[in-house]
């Protein structure tokens, strides 16, 4: 998916280059960007860390927990949808990486095994952290959240101290993997202009210049076809001597329609995220206690690590197995292998993943949102008891959730169709699309059923 020379007449919301707007252009080229957002974010991060580790131990009373899990975590997928991986440009961990690198960085190349297995490592870490959240307590335990943040900080410091650029963000960060997948679905796209880049021999965007850093995530806008690893740090915009970089708005899911080299591990991650959305929903349902009791009777153990692991594995296996089965059925029509279909059409689930993720966390944001205010006021000795933390009523939240799931379903369905259309022709298009359409209907119904059941609070 390459871009041609920017047409100055195009509307900014219809594929026009946002850098043609002088305010956006000036802001992104400014030496204050992204620092002007990054430093305050780092400051807030330090307040959060202080609260998580040294503040109240009850999540209900902890300002750090409220900011992290009630505000930031629900907002992050929404940011990915509208601004791609912009969060990664202002992430406090990235700033810590840069600071460590500046003073003691050895700037070694990223290890080969990370380059080779990076996404699988991210997949494994994502699964492990979600599992450990339930078994050891992270979200509901401020100290657990603090320890997770400290562990990530240490990882970032090791990376910044020994390796070049943002090796941790590109190859290890579990949130980076999630955001990479979601950014493909996002509405912002940064690319080089092929006609201009074709004659360029200096690659300032990749290597950096006196005025700009090299791309922190090892991307090369000249050949970039995906937004998965573009954090919109604007270093390439500042460094390009030919003004080749374009920043455009595109319809959500558009990038997913034309993935040239689909990767099995990325498709696997999208199926895993769906499983994680299921497990997050299931364990917050009020019927979870009864389900756990049943599982304890069946397995003969009350060990939560065992019973939860069984639930967790089942929830992850279901979408992976369904996608595999659908890929196998589709292979009867399109003669592609199961693995090829899995890798190609796994990306179609991302829209539904994102909708499910946002819908789940919307509950926490809108049903517990005022807890941010209450816990913040408690820092100044103003205690509020017995007040509702809800911003919206349950009925309204549920309608919003259903609306989001409907949008996700349409996005996934259309993406599956476009993937089928861009890889096949004639009758094969519909023959391939039909099984994946059924898959999207099944996954949507599962999500809708989960969102109709009463859910427990996070705070």
């Amino acid at each position: 998916m390459t871009s041609s020379l920017p047409n100055p007449n195009l509307s900014l919301l219809n594929g026009g280059n946002l850098l043609n707007n002088k305010w956006i252009d000036r802001f992104l080229r400014s030496r204050w960007y992204p620092g002007i957002i990054q430093w305050p974010t780092l400051l807030i991060f330090m307040v959060i860390m202080f609260e998580l580790i040294l503040g109240p131990e009850s999540a209900h009373d902890n300002f750090g927990t409220a900011l992290t899990w009630v505000l930031w975590w629900p907002l992050i997928p929404i940011i990915f949808l509208f601004l791609g991986r912009f969060w990664c440009a202002i992430c406090p961990f990235a700033k810590i990486n840069d600071l460590v690198q500046k003073f003691v960085g050895n700037n070694r190349p990223a290890p080969r095994f990370l380059k080779k297995y990076g996404i699988w490592i991210i997949d494994a870490l994502f699964i492990f952290i979600t599992w450990s959240d339930h078994v050891w307590g992270v979200v509901e335990n401020p100290l657990g959240s603090g320890v997770l943040m400290l562990t990530l900080t240490t990882g970032v410091i090791i990376s910044g101290a020994f390796y070049e650029r943002r090796t941790f963000c590109r190859y290890v960060c579990f949130l980076g993997g999630l955001s990479g997948n979601y950014a493909r679905n996002g509405m912002l796209s940064l690319r080089g202009t092929p006609e201009i880049c074709a004659t360029c021999t200096i690659a300032a965007c990749y290597k950096g210049t006196d005025q700009s850093m090299p791309c922190p995530l090892y991307e090369f806008p000249k050949t970039m076809t995906s937004s998965a690893n573009c954090v919109l740090c604007a270093e390439c915009i500042k460094g390009c001597p030919n003004n080749s970089i374009q920043l455009t708005v595109r319809p959500p899911t558009k990038e997913l329609w034309f993935i040239r080299k689909p990767k099995l591990e990325e498709a696997f991650l999208s199926a895993v995220i769906m499983g994680i959305v299921f497990v997050q929903n299931v364990t917050m349902l009020e019927v979870w206690g009864s389900m756990l009791k049943w599982l304890e009777n069946v397995t003969g153990t009350t060990n939560y690590a065992i019973t939860f692991s069984i639930t967790f594995a089942t929830a992850i296996i279901i979408p992976v197995a369904l996608l595999s089965l659908t890929s196998w059925i589709a292979s009867k029509f399109n003669k592609a292998s199961l693995v090829e279909n899995f890798a190609r059409f796994g990306y179609a689930i991302i829209a539904l993943d994102m909708a499910g993720h946002i819908a789940h966390n919307l509950f926490h944001l809108l049903a517990e949102g005022k807890s941010i205010l209450y816990t913040g006021m408690a820092l100044f000795g103003m205690e509020i008891h017995s007040a509702s933390a809800a911003i919206l009523g349950m009925q309204e939240i549920q309608w919003l959730q259903f609306g989001l799931i409907a949008l996700g379903f349409i996005g996934s369905l259309y993406t599956a169709y476009r993937i089928s259309k861009s890889n096949h022709s004639g009758e094969k298009v519909w023959g391939t699309f039909a099984p994946f359409a059924v898959l999207m209907v099944i996954l949507t119904i599962m999500n809708v059923v989960l969102f109709t059941l009463p859910m427990a609070m996070r705070m």
Partner: protein, 232 residues
């Protein structure tokens, strides 16, 4: 050789960090905050607002039934005593019961005894202690024999199924929270171990991470033979 040494250092740090994650999880559960137990089909969770420390502490007890529904309107009491006192107390009960009915060696159901049984237990005197939701343990750290169990009646908390109380610890070490409540004529009793930390464990965690991070940066600074420009 230098490269091997470098890889060795990186590997040691990586292992130390990944090892520390489950360790911290265990620490978090073992300090007494957010401990859960299942008894008689009830799910009981004891949570301290801040980790148990010397002086005033606020704690919450949340009770849910087998269906996960909060148990409201229960009269919830807590008996707090040092662990060693609890051991002596249990020994007394055992010796009294074995002396009176000769049933030594039998496993008496302690977690599902009836209210009448509990009231007859020597040393507990559940109905005679002054009832308050705030209590102080006035003991000399060295003389645990003077420590008497303190009984607290909890107040209803601000969430359904939640009960709150205060306790003031005057010494560090291991304590036992015996939580009991009566529902449908059946007394449910459960014990939670609580550690009152002398040195705040949280500062230990912070210091541990700070030490690892400082070491990493020191090694990196030491190994930085020459400055490689990050800008072309």
């Amino acid at each position: 050789m230098k490269k091997t040494w470098f890889h060795y250092v990186v590997m040691i740090f990586a292992i130390a960090i990944f090892m520390s994650v489950p360790l911290q999880g265990v620490l978090a559960d073992g300090e007494g905050e957010g401990i859960e137990k299942e008894v008689n089909g009830y799910h009981i969770r004891l949570t301290f607002v801040e980790s148990p420390k010397l002086g005033e502490n606020e704690f919450h007890v949340r009770i849910t039934d087998a269906m996960g529904m909060p148990v409201t309107n229960a009269e919830v009491g807590v008996i707090v005593m040092p662990e060693e006192k609890m051991s002596e107390h249990e020994e007394n009960i055992n010796s009294e019961s074995s002396g009176s009915d000769g049933m030594s060696g039998m496993d008496m159901p302690t977690e599902a005894a009836s209210a009448d049984d509990m009231n007859s237990m020597s040393g507990m005197d559940m109905g005679t202690e002054p009832e308050s939701n705030e209590a102080s343990i006035h003991d000399e750290p060295q003389d645990s024999h003077d420590e008497e169990p303190t009984q607290i009646v909890l107040e209803t908390g601000h969430e359904f199924g939640e009960y709150s109380g205060h306790i003031s610890f005057n010494r560090t070490g291991e304590w036992v929270f015996n939580i009991h409540f009566t529902m449908d004529g059946q007394l449910t009793e459960v014990e939670f171990p609580v550690t009152v930390a002398g040195l705040d464990a949280k500062y230990g965690i912070l210091a541990g991470f700070a030490g690892i991070n400082a070491s990493v940066m020191s090694v990196a600074a030491f190994m930085k033979r020459k400055k490689i420009p990050t800008k072309a």
